[in-house]
Amino acid sequence: MNSTIVEMEGISKGFPGLQALETVDFNCLRGEVHALVGENGAGKSTLMKILSGAYRQDEGRIVLGGREVSFSCPQDAQKSGISTIYQEFNLIPHLNVAENIFLGHEPLKRRGIFIDTRKLYQVPKQILADLETDIHPRIKVRELSVAQQQMVEIAKALCLNADILIMDEPSAVVSGKELDSLFRIINSLRDNGKAIIYISHRVDEIFEIADRVTVLKDGKLVGTLHTKDVDKQGLIKMMVGRSFAEVFPPKEQGERKEILSLKNVCQGRTLKNVSLTLYSGEILGVTGLIGSGRTELARVIFGADPFHTGEIYFNGNKRKKHKPKLSISNGIGFVTEDRKKEGFVRCLSVRKNLTSIILDKIKRWCFIKEGEEKDIARKCVDQFNIVTPNIEQEIEYLSGGNQQKVILAKWINANSKLIIMDEPTRGIDVGAKAEFYNLMRLLVKQGTAVLMISSELPEVIGMSDRILVMHDGRIMGELNPSEATEEDILMMATGQAKKDQGKEQHIEF
């Protein structure tokens, strides 16, 4: 039973300016759950994209069922029995479940023109029943919950007769009960001789579900182990290889006076009686699971979304009109979660992005004083160490870290007294992260208030002066980062009382 189903040998892959993988070996057995772990940017996704045909390796070979294979596209890999379930699902929302499961390979009637509708619904019905879900094959995908969509993706893979299922952070989108049933399904797939490659960075889960674990770091193989031969601490050490404390600057605060307070703010079902106070010269960390209302909170404070009841005071004044334009002129800045969509104007230059919110200040009548604009832009580039060939470079060609610095510089330029940062370091490499953290500290020392929303717990603990934990639209409590552990935060974030020794703890990196 436990024979090798796929073997990857000496895989290397480079991208311009980055060696993503360096001679990595990886293998997976039939009837095994093999976890693939590592920090962001360790090369997990790249390795799996090579296996699933989305990328081609520069060097190395893939042996599948004893034969060397080379895939030119994901469909080739699918035909050979390798299916991937990505974090972002490959489902068309306006088609129904069965139509999605068979998309691209519809069963045809004997004549070969029309779709065999009976088979179209029968097969998925059987598969979904085997998965012990109650999803009806005729329901439209957009009406399903995220967890149900994940089930549909699994059903789709099984319908393609996949022998190897690659699951990219499946637990990132489900929790609690849904996660239990996901694990039950993974276990039954393993018992049926399928190979499951489970990408995750939650250590607890790996010990719960995986037989073996392969650790990658900076594109290199650290090792492959049986989960029973290693403990949590050992695994973390393999993954990290350095202590987080080095990254974070010491916590110095600036002058402290109340700048923002919320009193019983409610917004439909997303925010329930949220009250908080934010002082200048501090970083207030707000954390919680997906859907806990943290991003909604940020948008309400900034005025991007309305709130229904409650009061918001800024600098001691009650805010009546609540619009982004007013927030900006009052000195509130917002570094959004998805910088590509909401943070900058993609095809404008660094200069134009830097000055986009202070155009009122640098115009004569209705014309922009370009000389002054250029001076400001040059000053920012120097001051914040933004790596760009020149200020006329379009911002989309900068690295993520530098894009983020441009966005931050933009708000600082506008004399923001309060800057809201939603997941400020997402998708930024470690070096740029440290630089960004230093910049945040510098701001705070100068008396700016920072509201940092983050789901990366080391960052929350390492950067915040105070931590608020949200769950289900409520603020569950405040923690002191010098005492709080990641477990404490997660306990609150999952809505369990502090003394209740809950079972759903996930250590997150």
Partner: protein
Amino acid sequence: MNFNYLKQNWTTSIVYIILIALLLVGSLLSDMFRTSNNLTNLMRQAVALGIVSTGQTLVLLSAGIDLSVGSVISLTTCLTTGLICGRESMVFPVVTLVIVLALLIGFCNGFIIVRTHVSPLIVTLAMMSIIQGVVLLYTNAPVGELPSSFGFLAWGMVGLIPFPIFILAAVAVAAILVQKQTPFGRYLFATGGNEEIARRSGIRVDRVRIFVYMVCSLTAALTGIFLASRMGQGDPMAGERYMIDSLIPPLIGGTSLMGGRGGVVGTIAGTFILTVVSNIFNLLDVETYWQWVMTGSIVIIAVAFYGKETA
């Protein structure tokens, strides 16, 4: 099951309920409305718009748009009458030629769109201009004539029912079958819903898009041939109004301009809603330009309604 279907497709059902309501309103407002003369007239009026809108719907489903249909209609009308020129023997070769030509234009539309990645709006708008120019070079006044037998297409009766309604029915049924029962139809929805996912599912998106523009051009050609038969002469501006008008029934029927949503069933209802409204206005002697005001209002209300529903 039947009830379930209604529930799942309640937007489509609503369009049909509105159509039935309009028919009732029409018969209340005017005694003329119910006369068989008026009803056959009404059906005949719906045919041209219905055929071309069906093709347009399929393009819209793929998240495209075809603005060249109007000039393709003008072209096919003029060529049909101009080349046949009253000779019975020329009917078959000319009709074949016209259809092949339309398919070629559709192919060009699709091919340019998938190769250059220029927006369909621009490509087909440019194509509209090119073809309209060619038509006006060919003739700038109504042209040609047709053998009397050709008139059957537009004016013939089968029992109490005007013949052209069968053409519309055939086109609509074929389109619905393609849309609902063939992989190609499924791929239209997938492409329009999310092109990237469609591609990742192994669908040859480019082929789907080229093919759907060909189908749309084909429906425009059928409309052109039908209009030739109705008017007996080829008017170089005959198709002009269909550039925009062909979009209206799909929009009323619940097809999204963003693609991936809607379908031909709703479009047919949309066609008849427009035709009935215009018919009622005519019977009540309301000035034609009020119809424009009305049509625009209907479109805004319908699209706002769907937008809210599916946001």
